[in-house]
């Protein structure tokens, strides 16, 4: 069980959202959402320590602006919005980018891409061949995802890992639904290209 904050309590908190979120509710909100926020951040920034730091920062920002929460979106969407903004701002930091490139970061080194993501992957019950194939496939998707811009990556992640609806993603990223679709379309295009290069599969046009 992830949290002691029951759905009923969350709904009550949202119903009373005109007055913001009370201090007492915040511990429960952290427990209920920290895993998801961390997962989203890790998927975008691809570094566990950075994701951890940004997760803490996300909740601190949410706490500081809790009085301005009006319940127009769910608490989860509100938190994801803060997290995505943090991750994108982090990606814009030129100094971080410099160090990442200097040490052969994930954006350029295909072999490194996805290595952190898939180390623990397949379930113990699968055959070694199946595990290897699954790992290779996930690795290929990570490599393609790493080539995307932070916004495209965030949209792709929110749709296909977090399974959020397009409207929710649009709210969380402060974008139009059309822009989210465009990000997803580019991401799928990049994925197809990368998979073809790796020989993982052949697009329909090649058959």
């Amino acid at each position: 069980m992830e949290s002691t904050l029951t759905p009923a309590k969350l709904l009550a908190a949202q119903a009373n959202a005109s007055a913001g979120i009370a201090r007492e509710d915040f511990d429960g909100i952290v427990r209920a959402h920290q895993r998801r926020i961390y997962r989203v951040l890790l998927g975008i920034v691809r570094d566990p320590d950075t994701a951890d730091t940004l997760t803490q920062e996300c909740f601190l920002r949410a706490y500081r602006s809790r009085h301005s929460f009006r319940g127009e979106s769910s608490v989860a969407t509100w938190l994801v919005r803060i997290a995505v903004r943090l991750a994108i701002d982090h990606g814009r930091n030129r100094r971080n980018r410099f160090w990442r490139q200097l040490f052969g970061g994930a954006t350029t080194d295909e072999s490194a891409a996805g290595s952190t993501a898939v180390e623990e992957l397949p379930d113990a019950g699968a055959s070694p061949e199946r595990q290897l194939a699954a790992r290779e496939q996930a690795d290929a998707v990570w490599a393609a995802v790493d080539q995307l811009s932070p916004q495209q990556r965030a949209a792709f992640l929110l749709r296909f890992v977090e399974e959020m609806k397009l409207e929710e993603i649009a709210r969380a990223m402060a974008l139009e639904v059309g822009t989210v679709k465009a990000h997803l379309s580019r991401a799928v295009g990049a994925l197809r290209k990368r998979l073809k290069e790796r020989g993982i599969y052949a697009p329909a046009s090649d058959r």
Partner: protein, 151 residues
């Protein structure tokens, strides 16, 4: 010749949107879509797996977050603390005893006499005759003829 699924159409289908762009009975497109769905499912599992951490780490993170916001006093608390500090300061200043007046040391009578003698010597008129001197000056001033304008 078939028009295969574009990136946009494929993304829309994968994202769960209904699209009419898909050509009918295109086995290749269907296979590609299925293939991609499988890949995305593997990737989702991978993303979830890599984000898993021991329970202790989550608890540590909860404590770290709570410690941050406990350490930062909220604005009303800060205002109250400042007001109380000012109140205490004012009360302290009001109840504080003024410094006792230090008694001036008694002047040396010889010095006083010497100063008095020096002042008397410098005077044009002895002190006892000062009122008479003032009276004389007034009488002189009154008896002087008024200045006549030059012709």
């Amino acid at each position: 010749m078939h028009q295969h699924l574009t990136d946009e159409a494929l993304a829309a289908r994968l994202a769960g949107e209904v699209t009419s762009e898909r050509p009918a009975e295109c086995v290749a497109c269907e296979a590609e879509e299925e293939n991609l769905r499988g890949l995305l499912a593997e990737w989702k599992a991978s993303a979830e797996k890599v984000a898993e951490r021991p329970e202790a780490l989550w608890r540590w993170q909860q404590r770290a977050i709570a410690a941050h916001w406990s350490a930062r006093p909220s604005r009303p608390r800060l205002v109250w603390a400042t007001a109380m500090a000012i109140l205490v300061l004012v009360a302290t200043l009001l109840t504080r005893q003024p410094h006792p007046v230090q008694p001036v040391a008694a002047a040396d009578p010889d010095d006083t006499l010497l100063i008095e003698v020096r002042r008397s010597v410098r005077r044009e008129v002895p002190r006892a005759l000062e009122p008479a001197s003032l009276l004389t000056q007034e009488i002189d001033r009154a008896s002087q003829p008024q200045a006549q304008p030059n012709p």
